[in-house]
């Protein structure tokens, strides 16, 4: 078992690793989850508002976004927390059937939602982002598998990717709610882990703010999903749509080169159908 071969060398650092696991759960992962859900919930006010949010983030420039934000403060902490989380899950011996106490149910859900969140995040990042932006990877792996659907310069592509299939919608619904439960319940266990709430009474009361955070983020997540489902193609936004024969396929409107494109010219192409072979029509270089 992986846990057993890791143990001899990592045992000495078990305490520090577990404290880092706890810390990364709150910051940056939990913080990012809140930011991410609230950003996406802005689509409920219309695709134009959502586009403006995306532009604000991507105004930072591709180097900042990819090298300073995405990898160091989002992907790497999630991978660290997620992989260590799987090791932790594999080492426990769940027993809710015999001890169906509320604390034990929450503990077990914390593990299940962690695993669901892990699988969901891996798929979700591939589906929307593609993991890596190197053009050989995008062309040979991401495109053929129907990933990398989100183009920040045509933020409507996110809604479009979600509207496409009821399976995608179901995965989002489960993945988002699992992540939110995991974060809210994790806040509560964190308070014990770090000794913020120690007495049984304080621990009971601490449920209130943690549940409030959970309900608030669940609402934001569901609002984002509803917003994505009802979003129309951008009308009078910065990205004027061009009519095509099939109204479900937007044309490569974003063919104006943007700073992102120097890293990956293939990204300009926004009109992708999951089953269609990689199209080259939208390329300008």
């Amino acid at each position: 078992m992986e846990a057993n071969c890791l143990a001899p060398s990592l045992g000495r650092y078990e305490f520090v690793l577990r404290r880092l696991h706890s810390l990364t759960g709150l910051m940056p992962i939990g913080g990012y989850l809140a930011f991410h859900l609230l950003t996406n919930a802005s689509i409920i006010d219309g695709v134009e508002v959502y586009q403006r949010r995306a532009d604000q983030i991507h105004e930072l420039g591709v180097t900042t976004v990819v090298l300073l934000l995405e990898w160091p403060i989002i992907f790497i902490p999630i991978l660290f927390h997620g992989i260590l989380g799987i090791v932790i899950v594999s080492r426990g011996k769940r027993n809710v059937a015999d001890y169906p106490f509320i604390g034990n149910i929450r503990y077990t859900l914390q593990r299940w939602t962690g695993v669901i969140a892990f699988l969901f995040i891996i798929w979700h990042v591939f589906h929307m982002h593609g993991w890596f932006k190197a053009s050989w990877w995008v062309e040979n792996v991401v495109r053929p598998l129907g990933g990398g659907r989100f183009d920040p310069h045509n933020a409507y592509t996110a809604a479009q990717a979600i509207q496409e299939s009821v399976w995608v919608q179901a995965m989002f619904f489960v993945g988002v709610l699992a992540s939110v439960y995991h974060f809210a319940n994790g806040l509560w266990t964190m308070g014990i882990t770090w000794g913020v709430w120690t007495s049984p009474r304080a621990q009971r009361w601490a449920n209130v703010p943690c549940a409030a955070v959970g309900v608030f983020l669940a609402c934001a997540g569901v609002a984002a999903l509803i917003g994505m489902l009802v979003a129309d193609k951008p009308g009078a936004g910065q990205v004027p749509p061009v009519q095509t024969q099939d109204s479900r396929i937007p044309t490569p409107t974003a063919s104006v080169p943007s700073p992102v494109e120097f890293a990956n010219p293939a990204r300009i192409e926004v009109s992708r159908f999951p089953s269609s072979p990689p199209q080259r029509a939208g390329r300008t270089t």
Binding site: E14, F15, G92, Y107
Partner: protein
């Protein structure tokens, strides 16, 4: 089950019970396969599981009438202070001496299920080897270092608050219920290797125990001895054990321990207090070197 109770069925009320079944998960020795065995016991008022086991031993026959070796179990105090009789009764860990048959049959009419604890190596039938717990107590130095040939005079005074905290924590009887119910506490059972001496095996086992989780009881004992004014003088050694491999970080906050502790020890309070102190201790170790 069915809604109107048949007065002649088991569980119809103490006066109407005649006999009930006891199914026991038996094991003939360490590392041997386990197997279920069914016994039939005549009902008497006010029985507990120890008296049931005594009747089974006296009869030494299965429900089918097959003669069998008596079932092995342990007990001492018969009043829930020694912890020796701890076993899994109707799928929940508790002391056999205070598990009352009337209540067990109310919960589950007609049958009582007995198993050895699952987190410790089985020695035979319902007898398990809890030496890991005692090794843990040594690891965390769960004692006050007052051995001396000299008269050291009276110890420091303790506040009333401290005494009250210490009293509840001192009730722990090392029974292991908190460990049996803990999803983060996993069994460590080594197989003896061919040609291995007792000493070699013990050493290997101790090393394995050393890396396993301390468990809730030990964290509460660290809390007890570190808040004692004399124990506090050697608190660093206990905190080192608290943050070593298998230390407090393994706890996943399921809080089953506090729910099953027969002594109602506020284990999760000790765990949270220890969590706070552990972080500070590790930071101090880094910066005060």
């Amino acid at each position: 089950m069915s809604s109107p109770r048949d007065p002649y069925e088991h569980g119809g009320g103490p006066a109407r019970r005649e006999a009930f079944d006891v199914v026991v998960l038996r094991q003939d020795g360490p590392g041997k396969p386990s197997y279920w065995e069914r016994h039939r016991v005549a009902y008497e008022p006010d029985m507990n599981v120890i008296s049931v086991l005594q009747r089974i031993a006296a009869n030494a026959r299965t429900a089918e009438g097959k003669p069998v070796a008596p079932i092995a179990w342990e007990c001492n105090c018969l009043e829930e202070v020694c912890g020796a009789c701890t076993m899994v009764i109707n799928r929940r860990v508790r002391q056999a001496c205070t598990a009352l048959v009337d209540r067990l049959l109310d919960e589950h009419p007609g049958q009582i299920e007995l198993r050895p604890m699952s987190k410790f190596p089985v020695i035979r039938d319902l007898v398990v080897d809890r030496s890991r717990m005692f090794e843990t107590l040594k690891k965390i130095r769960a004692w006050l270092p007052v051995d001396s040939y000299l008269d050291m005079g009276p110890g420091p005074r303790q506040s009333q608050d401290n005494q009250e905290l210490a009293y509840v924590l001192s009730k722990c009887m090392t029974c292991g219920c908190c460990l049996e119910a803990c999803p983060q506490y996993v069994k460590i059972e080594l197989q003896r290797q061919p040609g291995e001496t007792d000493e070699q095996f013990d050493q290997r086992q101790k090393a394995a125990f050393d890396r396993g989780f301390l468990g809730a009881f030990a964290i509460a004992q660290i809390d007890l001895f570190n808040t004692n004014p004399i124990g506090e003088m050697t608190s660093r050694e206990r905190l080192d054990a608290l943050v070593a491999e298998g230390g407090i970080q393994v706890c996943g906050n399921a809080q089953n321990c506090v729910r099953v502790c027969p002594k109602e020890i506020p284990l999760t309070r000790s765990i949270a207090r220890a969590g706070r102190i552990a972080t500070r201790h590790v930071l101090k170790r880094w910066f005060d070197r």
